[in-house]
């Protein structure tokens, strides 16, 4: 009981694990987005959905589907150079830092040994890349956060974080699209609408897009 269920090797060089009998978690490291793009381009009939995350993909198979030769082939197919350099749109997002909009800024700046102004400058001086979306619809995990600004999540999550809150969680900075509970450190807020289910493209930011924050 409780042993790892891995079955026969899926593809020689890929580390993978089952999540239920429909989820196939595949280690993809720095090539996560490139592998995602390749898999999506194959229109695999046995695959209902694919979730890109932090160094791994989760393939969700259709009910009762087995891992097909096409899926195995797509997981082991070589990635060409053009596919590994996914470069999306560039966005500038205006942020009210600190004060009521960013209640955790003073504590985070203190912990980093910086003034609040220096912390803001550092956060806004960086160009971030959207690694993946998760947690809430349209919530971007933005990579590129300078190590001095990184901070483990809050010990106890807040019951209510306002939509538009710009926050720090571990190695990432992110933006809450919707009001709700949240465990990241809130440093500011934007009026930009990150997710609107009525838009043709509901999520403003897509994996591969680049983001710069502009102090209001």
């Amino acid at each position: 009981m409780g042993k790892q269920t891995t079955g026969q090797p899926l593809v020689a060089s890929t580390c993978w694990r089952w999540v239920g009998e429909r989820g196939l978690r595949v280690e993809t490291g720095a090539m996560t987005l490139a592998r995602y793009m390749l898999l999506i381009s194959k229109n695999l009939t046995d695959v209902e959905d694919i979730i890109p995350a932090d160094g791994s993909l989760l393939l969700i198979l259709r009910r009762s589907a087995r891992v097909s030769p096409e899926v195995r082939a797509a997981l082991s197919a070589p990635l060409d150079v053009a596919q590994t350099a996914v470069k999306g749109k560039r966005h500038e997002i205006v942020v009210d830092y600190g004060g009521a909009a960013g209640p955790d800024l003073p504590a985070l700046a203190k912990r980093a040994g910086m003034s609040e102004a220096a912390y803001i400058d550092c956060h806004a001086a960086t160009e971030y890349t959207v690694a993946f979306l998760g947690f809430q619809p349209g919530f971007p995990y933005l990579q590129g956060l300078p190590p001095t600004l990184q901070a483990a999540r809050r010990a106890s999550p807040r019951q209510q974080v306002a939509a538009g809150s710009v926050a720090i969680g571990g190695r990432y900075t992110g933006i809450y699209p919707t009001d709700g509970p949240g465990g990241w450190h809130v440093i500011g807020r934007t009026h930009t609408v990150l997710f609107d289910p009525q838009r043709a493209a509901p999520a403003l930011l897509m994996p591969g897009d680049r983001v710069c924050f502009v102090p209001a």
Binding site: M1, G2, K3, Q4, T5, G7, R17, W18, V19, G20, E21, R22, G23, R25, Y36, E48, D49, I50, I51, P52, A53, D54, G55, S56, L57, L58, I60, R63, S64, A65, R66, F132, L133, G134, F135, Q136, P137, G138, F139, Y141, G170, P177, T178, G180, F195, P197, Q198, P202, A203, P207
Partner: protein, 303 residues
């Protein structure tokens, strides 16, 4: 047409959800037991994907000014019709004009599904009529039904017959069958023995985002890891060691170790868990889980 005379605890418009959008952070959502909603739809001559109501723990009182054809599947609730006719589950029901259907509490289980001929005609949002409460979109204005709401039905397109349905046979007797999860190896023997050897109780803070369990803490060597994709049925162990089974409206990514994944065939059982219920986990192999997932509802014509 439905008039809501009294709302239940959480009556939600649901169809089969919006799979294929998880990359946007949008879970598939949809009926907690999609086969049960599809069966209710079949009983009223709808396509499987028509929108119906998912009703949990305490039901609504609904008036049908024009009458209609309805069906209930899932947990049996204490129920009555103003006509005095019996409220049969898993059968086509013909409602007279002005009839009132009252659902109170489940006799056992948690959720039932109500289909109405023609399907509930709410707008499709991102390819589905399902309510997604955490972000407030889909279904009836992105929220649970309230007293005074009026819902309309679509125009029936299929023929219909009076039918009786039977769910797939259930042989697991209460245990939730799981496939060992991607981080099962990160747990020590004490943690694994707790998870697979002791019962857990369903906590009151459970909803469609997740079923929270309370019991012997599941100890692990590492409490957090890089965010990974998860799906309904994934069992996460947060730092306090109390398992959370992710639900239909749960996040698409999670940063806690996943010890196990509930198999697709047992998701209907997950849908029927209510606060206070006891849960035990038992592992099975992936191939066996795939075969169990192929089980279907069956239908026969009423004489």
């Amino acid at each position: 047409m439905i008039e809501v005379l009294r709302a239940g605890l959480c009556d939600l418009v649901m169809d089969l959800g919006r799979p294929g959008r998880r990359m946007l952070g949008v879970p598939a959502g949809g009926a907690a037991d999609p086969a049960a909603l599809a069966a209710a739809n079949h009983l009223v001559g709808n396509d499987a994907a028509a929108a119906g109501l998912e009703i949990a723990l305490s039901g609504p009182r609904l008036r049908f000014p024009l009458g209609g054809v309805a069906a209930l599947t899932g947990a049996r609730f204490a129920a009555r019709r103003s006509s005095g006719a019996p409220v049969a589950w898993n059968e086509t029901l013909v409602l007279a004009a002005g009839e009132v259907l009252t659902l109170d509490r489940p006799e056992s289980g948690c959720r039932c599904w109500l289909a109405l001929r023609g399907g509930l005609a709410v707008p499709s949002v991102m390819g589905s009529r399902s309510t997604f409460l955490p972000s407030g979109f889909g279904g009836h204005g992105g929220r649970a039904l309230q007293a005074g709401d009026v819902l309309h039905c679509g125009v029936p397109t299929n023929e219909m017959k009076l039918l009786r349905a039977s769910p797939p046979a259930d042989e697991a007797e209460g245990d939730l069958r799981v496939v060992a999860g991607p981080q099962a190896g990160q747990f020590d023997d004490v943690g694994l023995a707790a998870f697979f050897g002791t019962p857990y109780r369903v906590d009151a803070a459970s909803d469609r985002r997740g079923v929270r369990l309370a019991g012997t803490p599941v100890s692990h060597r590492r409490a957090e890891l890089p965010s990974q994709g998860v799906l309904p049925g994934s069992v996460q162990i947060p730092p306090d060691g109390q398992p959370i089974i992710l639900g239909w409206d749960g996040p698409v990514t999670g940063g806690y170790p996943v010890i196990a994944g509930v198999i697709t065939a047992d998701v209907p059982r997950l849908a029927q868990l209510k606060p206070g219920d006891a849960v035990r986990f038992v592992t099975i192999e992936v191939e066996a889980a795939c075969e169990l997932a192929a089980a279907q509802w069956t239908f026969k014509e009423l004489a």
